[in-house]
């Protein structure tokens, strides 16, 4: 009886998640349209995003039907392919906004960002290492080595924002599997040389920090982006300006349809219209999180919570940047920002999460240390 009730809850949570994700994506399309209404082709970006949305929903539904054992058994192969694509983009990728992070296909003018697609496979890899580890120290070192290897090509692009997300998810996996605190304390020592090297190679990171710290000191240079976030959100107020009238997002806010999409929504729909994004994502997170804790399979449980955390962390970093709480990182808002790679990879990740939730059985429990 309990099992049947649990199955019903999973079914309800799956339908709820699918519906809310679709709603959030539509919300994103509205924001993308709004950020370009005063441009020469207001429907260009939103038209493409709608195509990606249809493809993404199909990808999510297909990924959800594949048994989770397929993902867990092929985690290493998938991670290897994803890693090779991260290396390949450094050699043959296209540079957009100063970052060599895209493969472009000339005949379609479409581009793919491997670091977005690598996210679910990176977590599958971490979960694979974590559930197969017998010794705490060895597991921690393997996780740290895998993360470090993963970060190098991403920092070489350079994409510090995505690297930060990967790093935080690594920490979350470590915490979830009970890595002793003393091991985590060694991380600053491990990361300092990496951070110093990243800052040396990418001095723009320091500029962004200085602009964030005191935007008024260089309002037309490093402080420009932070200032525009403040002005754009202020214009939105409680209820926003009218749809299609977001003049500030259209004229001043850099990358208003991608890296600054939350501020665009805030200008158009105001505090009341933008807050539900966090609430809806929170509902999806909590409904899936609550059910994942009742699963017996350790791999599934670890994957679902880590993957959900990654999506929420990226969302919170994006919003933090948009409300001037963090310096600009160049991260998109999952599901809402313009970009096929971001949308497809997030919906693929949700497909795998729903697969982990729906294809569960007591026999799937893996060995795991406390």
């Amino acid at each position: 009886m309990n099992q049947e009730k649990f199955e019903n809850q999973i079914f309800n949570a799956t339908v709820l998640a699918q519906s809310l994700l679709f709603l959030l994506c539509i919300w994103g399309c509205l924001a993308i349209y709004n950020s370009n209404t005063l441009g020469a082709s207001p429907l260009y970006f939103v038209g493409r995003q709608l195509l990606w949305l249809v493809t993404g929903m199909i990808v999510m539904l297909l990924a959800q039907r594949v048994p989770f054992s397929f993902y867990s058994e092929n985690a290493l192969t998938a991670a290897a392919i994803a890693y090779i694509s991260l290396l390949a983009v450094l050699l043959w990728g296209t540079r957009i906004n100063g970052m060599r992070g895209w493969f472009t296909f000339g005949w379609t003018s479409a581009s793919i960002q491997p670091s977005e697609f690598a996210k679910p496979f990176f977590i599958l890899l971490l979960c694979h290492i974590a559930v197969n580890g017998k010794n705490k120290l060895k597991t921690f070192l393997r996780l740290a080595a895998a993360t470090l290897l993963w970060l190098i090509p991403i920092l070489l692009q350079p994409d510090a924002g995505t690297a930060l997300v990967y790093l935080l998810v690594f920490l979350i996996v470590c915490v979830l599997i009970g890595t002793p605190f003393k091991y985590l304390l060694t991380l600053p020592a491990l990361l300092t040389p990496v951070a110093a090297w990243a800052l040396y190679r990418n001095p723009y990171i320091l500029k962004r920090f200085s602009g964030f710290w005191d935007p008024a000191s260089d309002p037309l240079g490093s402080g420009w982006h932070i200032r525009q976030f403040q002005f754009t959100i202020a214009r939105g107020g409680w209820f926003g300006v009218k749809l299609g009238k977001a003049a500030w997002s259209n004229s001043y806010l850099p990358l208003s349809h991608s890296d600054s999409v939350f501020a665009t929504i805030a200008e158009s729909l105001g505090f009341v219209g933008a807050l539900p994004i966090l609430i809806l994502l929170g509902i999806v997170f909590f409904s899936l999180y609550r059910l994942s804790l009742r699963l017996r399979g350790q791999y599934q449980k670890l994957f679902i919570i880590s993957m959900l955390s990654l999506i929420i962390i990226q969302t919170l970093i994006h919003i933090s940047v948009n409300v001037a709480l963090l310096p600009p990182t160049g991260l998109t808002l999952p599901l809402l920002s313009y970009g096929g790679s971001s949308l497809l990879s997030t919906l693929l990740a949700f497909g795998i999460i729903l697969s982990a939730l729906n294809h569960h059985s007591p026999e799937e429990a893996h060995s795991y240390y406390n």
Partner: protein
Amino acid sequence: MLDDRKFKKRADIIVLSLASWAVICIAMFFYYAVIARDNYIYLGNKLAQRDLSYYPERAKIIDKNGVVLAWSEKYFDLYYNNLTDSPERLNLIYQAVKKVIPKAVRPSPDKMQSMILRSLRPPQILNLEELIYLYQELQITPRLERKVVDYPKVRVLVGQVKFVKGRLVGISGLEKKYDTVLSGAPGKYQIMLDRNKNWIKNSGRSINMAVPGKDVKLDSSVEEIRKGKQ
């Protein structure tokens, strides 16, 4: 094997941390959108808003029979502003304009501003709309011309005007005598400029409407003026 209780506890700590982060984000969002809103709107407006004065069309001078002796005509000229010093860009823009207006004159690469075509016709302005948006270098500028009926004595009586700060001002004859009446009062308009100092589409807001000047009706007819009987 995993201890479910410990795992749940750790997961709860993570969820709590993320929730706290979300609350801080919402607080900051509320601060900018509601609490400090007026201050940031003021700062933003300082950056973007500009007040413009615009003048109504100068009124007409008419004789006692209602024959118009002096009137204003508005023309629109197309200019190229050399913003980049790039001959390739100049050529690209010139070719694009030439497709729409074959009579376009090639702009000079040495001048800051060159006229491409004088006195555009309404269909030409409509055809140029997309190019104006695409290329910041292109600019359509209105120009007012004062016309007077072509009789020497009438011309002397009516007098002359010249452009001062964007408006026509009478400097001799009746144009000078009735300058205030003919000019009317300027209107005020508020606009928003984008990062490149271009006018943001649909951002205009009228503060004061311009008051049109009043036509000056003379006591003599055009024939009397011609014969020197005024």
